[in-house]
C-alpha cells in the first residue's frame, strides 16, 4: 500500500504484550519527560489526557477461563495518518525523516477533527489550563514546551530526543539518519523495567525492531484500516492478536491486508 510519504528512516516500536505487567512506569515517565500537566482528578477518562495509556484487556471469557493482558498505547505514528489529512491548519504533519507525526500545538486551533479521525484514541484535548501547583514547575523539563488549554496533543516519540541525537551525530561527523539504536530511545522504552518496549528504526536491519516486527507473533492495531501503524505488538496468545482488529469468527490473524484483499477477489 502506498505510504503517505516514504522515508529512509521510520521510527517505530515493538511492544511485547506478554512482558507488560501494566505497571504504568512508562506512563509516568512519559508525563515527566514531556511536561504533560498533572491532573488533580483523572478519574473522568473522557477528560484525562494521556500521551501513552496502558489498557487492561480481557479475553472476554468468564471466570475461570478469563485471561488478562495489559496494552500500552502510544501514538502509532501511522504511515498513513488520518489525523494529518483532516487537520485544516496543518498543525499535524508527517513530513520529516524518521516518520514521526508531528503536532505543532501553537498552530492548533482546537477543532479536534484529528481526534475524531484517529482510530486509536491517541489524541487528547487540553480541557484545562495546564497547572503545576506550588514548586512543581521546578521539575519541568527544558526540552518540551508546555501547552495551553484548548489545543490537541499527543505522543511525539520524544521527538526532542531525536533532535538531540541527530545534533550529536552531526557534531561527531556521523550520519544523523543512521543513528545506532541506543542513540535515540523514547522515555517509555527506557523506563520499562520489563523491557517490554523495543524502539528503533523499522527500516534499519541493525535495529532490533527490524527483525521483531516480522515475528509470527507480531500484529498491529486495526491494521486493515490501512493506517500502517509504526507501532507493532507481540503476543504468543492468539486471543490477544485477535483483539488487534475486527476479525471474523473463522478468520485467521496474521494475514497481511494485501493477502486478504487478493483472496476476496
Amino acid at each position: 500500500m502506498a505510504h503517505f510519504k516514504d522515508f529512509t528512516v521510520r521510527y517505530g516500536m515493538v511492544i511485547d504484550l506478554d512482558k507488560c505487567t501494566g505497571c504504568g512506569a512508562c506512563m509516568m515517565s512519559c508525563q515527566a519527560e514531556n511536561n504533560v500537566a498533572p491532573q488533580e482528578d483523572a478519574s473522568n477518562k473522557l477528560r484525562a489526557l494521556n500521551w501513552l495509556k496502558v489498557y487492561r484487556l480481557s479475553n472476554g471469557k468468564e471466570y475461570p477461563e478469563h485471561e488478562t493482558v495489559f496494552l500500552p498505547r502510544p501514538c502509532m505514528q501511522c504511515g498513513n495518518p488520518s489525523c494529518v489529512t483532516v487537520c485544516p491548519v496543518v498543525a499535524t504533519d508527517k513530513n520529516e525523516e524518521g516518520g514521526i507525526v508531528s503536532q505543532v500545538t501553537p498552530r492548533c486551533i482546537g477543532c479536534r477533527y484529528c481526534m475524531a479521525s484517529c482510530p486509536y484514541h491517541a489524541r487528547y484535548f487540553n480541557w484545562f489550563d495546564p497547572y503545576w501547583p506550588g514548586d512543581l514547575k521546578e521539575a519541568l523539563s527544558p526540552d518540551v514546551s508546555t501547552r495551553p488549554r484548548g489545543v490537541v496533543e499527543k505522543c511525539s516519540f520524544c521527538h526532542h530526543r531525536f533532535m538531540k541525537a541527530k545534533d550529536k551525530a552531526i557534531a561527531n561527523g556521523e550520519d544523523p539518519l543512521m543513528l545506532p539504536e541506543e542513540a535515540y530511545q523514547t522515555a517509555c522504552t527506557e523506563a520499562c523495567p520489563n523491557g517490554a518496549i523495543v524502539f528503533g528504526d523499522l527500516n534499519n536491519p541493525e535495529h532490533r525492531v527490524y527483525e521483531l516486527k516480522q515475528s509470527p507473533y507480531a500484529f498491529r492495531l486495526l491494521e486493515r484500516l490501512g493506517t500502517d501503524p509504526q507501532v507493532y505488538y507481540l503476543s504468543k496468545r492468539e486471543w490477544v492478536r485477535r483483539l488487534g482488529d475486527n476479525y471474523l469468527e473463522q478468520e485467521e490473524t496474521g494475514k497481511p491486508l494485501q493477502t486478504l484483499l487478493n483472496n476476496s477477489h
Binding site: 519527560e33 488533580e40 485471561e67
Partner: protein, 681 residues
C-alpha cells in the same frame, strides 16, 4: 447627526460595549487562540547534570537529571547491574514528590486549639531536646524504612535513651523473618529469584510491588526474551485476582484470600505423596488437607494444584514464596509452610532457592540488629498501650511512616496515640499521621540526603546501594540522620558516629566495598552467596502450628497500584492518570467482582454498593471483572487520603480503614482478615 447626538451615541455605545460580555469574551478568546498569555510556565534551561543515586521509595537505582540546579527527572540507571536501568512507576515520581505541595516546609507545632503554627528550627530543636530529656527511658521510635543503615543511628539513639521500643511498620518481612528464625534460619531470609527457573508466588505481586521490584523485573526481562525464544523462568502466581504478576505468569491459580495456608498445605500434601522424606511435621500437616480438599477450600481445581506441584518437581531450581500487598501481613504460618515446601524440594541454601543471608552486625555499639527489630511488633505495642496493659511511652518519634492511614482501626493506633504524651513526626510529606502529632518536623526527601538501601526484603543476596543528595534540602527540611546525631550530641549521648556519610562509609567497610566508588557510580554492591551448610531448617515449629481457619464466605481482596504511591508519599502528581477506571470512578473506589458473584449479590455493573466489614461500610462502585475469584471483591488501597495535597485528596475512601486485623496464635503477628460483605447501595 448633531454633535450632542453623536456624543450620546458614542458614550452609549462605549458603555454598552464595556458592559456587554462580548468584548471581554472576544479578548479572552483572542488571547486564547493566539496563545498570548502569561500563565503557561516558561521553560528555564541551565546546565545539565546526571547524578546517580537510589530511590528511597522502593530501592530502584536512579540517574537523576538536574538542570540548572533544578531536579527534573528520575530515570533508571542503565549501568546498574542490579536493575539494568529499569524504572518503577513510583521511583519515576521522585522529582515531582520532591517539589509537590504536600512537602512539610517548616517545623510545625500544634497549639492547644489543635491548629498548627509555624515555628523556627531553633524553637523546634529546643522542644526536641526538652521532650527527649524528659522522656528518658520512655521513648518509642517508629520508622517505615526497614532497609536503611540509618536505622542503626535511630535504634542506637532509642537504646541510648534507655528504651528498646524501636519499631518498623508491620510488613511481610516481619512475618517471614519470624518464620525463618523459628525454623532455624539464622540471618535474614533471602529469595534467589534471579537464579530460579520456576517460581511459585502465593500472593506476592513480585513483578509489581513486592520485594526488590526493579531487580525482579530485570530478571523477568532477561528470562523472557522478546524474540519469542523459550523463557528461562516459569512463573506461577496464586492469588485472588489476575493482577500484574498474574498477567504475565505461565499460570494463574485462583486462591481465595484467607486460604493461602490451605493452598500451601495442599501443595505440601501433594509433594509428600511418594516422597522419601519422612518427617513427622510434614506427615502431620499433609494429612490435614488432601490436594483435592485443599483445592476445594481455596477455590482452585485439584488439577491446577497438581500442575503446579509437577512444575515445581520438574524444575531444576524451583522457588516458592508467599506475600501480600503492602502492609497486609498474613502472619508467619504461610511463610513457615513456604519454607517447608522449599525444604521438601531441597531448595534451602541453593542457587535459585531460599537462602540464608548472613546477619550483618550493627554498625554502632548500641544499635539493634534488623532481625531483632523485626521481632518487635508495632501493632501489638499499640494494642497493649491502648488497653493499658503496657505503659504508654512519654514520647513517640515517627519517621516518615503513616500508621494512622495504613493500619486498620483494630491496630488501635489512634487510641495508643491518645495515651502518648508527646508525638513528633519527622516527615517529608504532610500525612494523616502528621495531623495527629504535636510537632511535625520537615525532613529531607530521599533525593536530598545521604542514605542507603541495604539488602531490602525480597533480596536474594546481600546487596547495597548508596543514596546521595542530588540537591540541597528544599524549604527548611533537614536530613533526619544528621538531626538525630546532633540531638544525641546535645544530650551528651555518644552514638559512635559523627555524621551520616561516615556511617555509610562504615557500611562500605563492613562489606569490603569502596565507598567513593559506589558513591560516584550509583552501582549496587552485590555479594555472591557462599555455599552455606547452615542453617539446618527444622520443621518442628510446624508440629505445633494450628490448623488454618476456614475461608470466609465472602472475601475482600485489597491490592495496591504501584504507581499510586505509598502511605508515606500520598498519590504522586502524575499518578492520577495511572489510576484506572476499574480502581476509581465517580469519586468512588471500585469493587471489582465477577459476573456470577455480582448476580448472586443482586448487583450490576457500575452500580453503587457498600463493602461491609466489622469496621463499617464503605461506598463503592461495582465493576465486573472476570479475572477474580467468585465470592470475592477486589478494592485498591491507596485512595481516600484526607491529607497530603490536591493530587491525593477527594478520591474515594481508604479501604485499609475497613480491613480487620487478627493476631496470629503463637506469634502474635498481625493477620489481615479478608472477611467482608458487599451489599446493595
Amino acid at each position: 447627526m448633531q454633535r450632542r447626538g453623536f456624543l450620546k451615541f458614542a458614550l452609549g455605545g462605549t458603555v454598552g460595549l464595556v458592559a456587554s460580555p462580548a468584548i471581554w469574551t472576544t479578548l479572552y478568546d483572542l488571547a486564547y487562540w493566539t496563545q498570548n498569555w502569561g500563565w503557561i510556565p516558561r521553560l528555564q534551561n541551565g546546565e545539565d547534570q546526571s547524578v546517580a543515586t537510589v530511590s528511597k521509595l522502593d530501592g530502584t537505582p536512579l540517574k537523576v537529571r538536574v538542570n540548572g540546579g533544578r531536579v527534573i527527572r528520575a530515570s533508571g540507571n542503565k549501568e546498574n547491574e542490579f536493575s539494568k536501568g529499569g524504572l518503577t512507576p513510583l521511583a519515576a515520581s521522585e522529582a515531582q514528590l520532591l517539589y509537590c505541595e504536600s512537602r512539610v516546609k517548616r517545623p510545625l507545632k500544634r497549639g492547644p486549639d489543635g491548629g498548627y503554627a509555624y515555628i523556627d528550627w531553633s524553637e523546634a530543636e529546643r522542644i526536641l531536646k526538652e521532650k527527649t530529656k524528659d522522656a528518658q527511658g520512655s521513648l518509642a521510635f517508629l520508622t517505615a524504612d526497614a532497609s536503611s543503615s540509618l536505622n542503626d543511628v535511630y535504634s542506637a539513639f532509642t537504646a541510648e535513651n534507655g528504651s528498646q521500643d524501636f519499631f518498623f511498620m508491620p510488613s511481610d518481612e516481619q512475618a517471614a523473618n519470624h518464620a525463618w528464625r523459628a525454623m532455624g534460619g539464622m540471618g535474614k531470609i533471602g529469595y534467589d529469584i534471579a537464579n530460579s527457573d520456576c517460581i511459585l508466588s502465593v500472593g506476592a505481586n513480585f513483578l509489581d510491588s513486592w520485594g526488590t521490584v526493579a531487580h525482579n523485573r530485570a530478571v523477568f526481562d532477561e528470562t523472557h526474551p522478546t524474540d519469542g525464544s523459550e523463557a528461562g523462568q516459569a512463573i506461577y502466581y496464586a492469588g485472588a485476582m489476575q493482577n500484574n504478576t498474574a498477567a504475565v505468569a505461565d499460570a494463574w491459580i485462583p486462591v481465595k484470600p484467607g486460604t493461602e495456608e490451605i493452598f500451601l498445605l495442599g501443595i505440601l500434601g501433594e509433594l509428600a505423596k511418594n516422597s522419601l522424606l519422612v518427617d513427622p511435621a510434614i506427615s502431620g500437616l499433609s494429612a490435614q488437607y488432601s490436594p483435592e480438599a485443599a483445592a476445594k477450600a481455596c477455590g482452585c481445581t485439584a488439577k491446577q494444584l497438581e500442575n503446579v506441584v509437577s512444575a515445581l518437581k520438574n524444575a531444576s531450581r524451583p522457588l516458592v514464596f508467599a506475600g501480600t500487598a503492602e502492609g497486609q501481613s498474613l502472619g508467619s504460618g504461610v511463610h513457615m509452610l513456604a519454607i517447608a515446601i522449599n525444604y521438601m524440594l531441597g531448595r534451602i541454601n541453593q542457587d535459585g532457592g531460599l537462602v540464608n543471608l548472613p546477619e550483618q552486625a550493627p554498625l554502632l555499639p548500641s544499635a539493634q540488629s534488623t532481625a531483632d527489630i523485626l521481632e518487635r511488633n508495632f501493632i501489638a505495642f499499640c494494642r497493649q498501650v491502648a488497653d493499658g496493659s503496657l505503659a504508654a511511652p512519654k514520647l513517640l518519634f515517627i519517621n516518615d511512616a503513616n500508621p494512622v492511614y495504613a493500619l486498620s482501626p483494630n491496630a488501635k493506633v489512634q487510641e495508643c496515640f491518645a495515651k502518648i504524651a508527646y508525638k513528633i513526626c519527622f516527615a517529608a510529606h504532610w500525612s494523616e499521621t502528621c495531623a495527629e502529632c504535636d510537632l511535625v518536623l520537615p525532613i529531607a526527601h530521599g533525593l536530598e540526603r545521604f542514605d542507603d538501601v541495604f539488602t531490602p526484603y525480597g533480596s536474594g543476596s546481600i546487596n547495597w546501594t548508596l543514596a546521595k543528595p542530588v540537591t540541597e534540602p528544599h524549604y527548611q527540611a533537614r536530613p533526619l540522620g544528621e538531626l538525630i546525631i546532633a540531638l544525641a550530641d546535645e544530650l551528651g549521648l555518644d552514638l559512635g558516629v559523627s555524621d551520616i556519610p561516615s556511617l555509610l562509609e562504615m557500611r562500605a567497610n563492613a562489606l569490603g566495598a569502596d565507598f567513593q566508588e559506589y558513591l560516584e557510580s550509583g552501582a549496587t554492591y552485590q555479594e555472591a552467596n557462599s555455599a552455606f551448610t547452615l542453617p539446618v531448617i527444622s520443621l518442628m515449629p510446624l508440629l505445633t502450628k494450628k490448623a488454618p481457619a476456614k475461608a470466609p464466605e465472602f472475601a475482600l481482596h485489597v491490592y495496591t497500584n504501584a504507581a499510586a504511591g505509598n502511605p508515606s508519599t500520598g498519590i504522586p502528581p502524575y499518578a492520577n492518570r495511572a489510576i484506572a477506571d476499574y480502581q476509581l470512578q465517580e469519586g468512588l473506589c471500585v469493587a471489582q467482582m465477577n459476573k456470577a458473584t455480582a448476580e448472586k449479590l443482586g448487583l450490576a455493573d457500575k452500580t453503587k454498593a457498600f463493602v461491609e466489614t466489622q469496621n463499617g461500610r464503605m461506598p463503592v462502585l461495582v465493576k465486573l471483572y472476570e479475572g477474580i475469584m467468585p465470592d470475592t471483591a477486589a478494592v485498591m488501597a491507596g485512595l481516600g487520603h484526607t491529607e497530603f495535597d490536591r493530587f491525593s485528596v477527594n478520591k474515594g475512601n481508604n479501604i485499609l480503614q475497613y480491613t480487620q486485623i487478627d493476631m496470629e496464635a503463637g506469634s502474635d503477628l498481625p493477620v489481615w482478615s479478608g472477611a467482608a460483605k458487599v451489599v446493595k447501595g
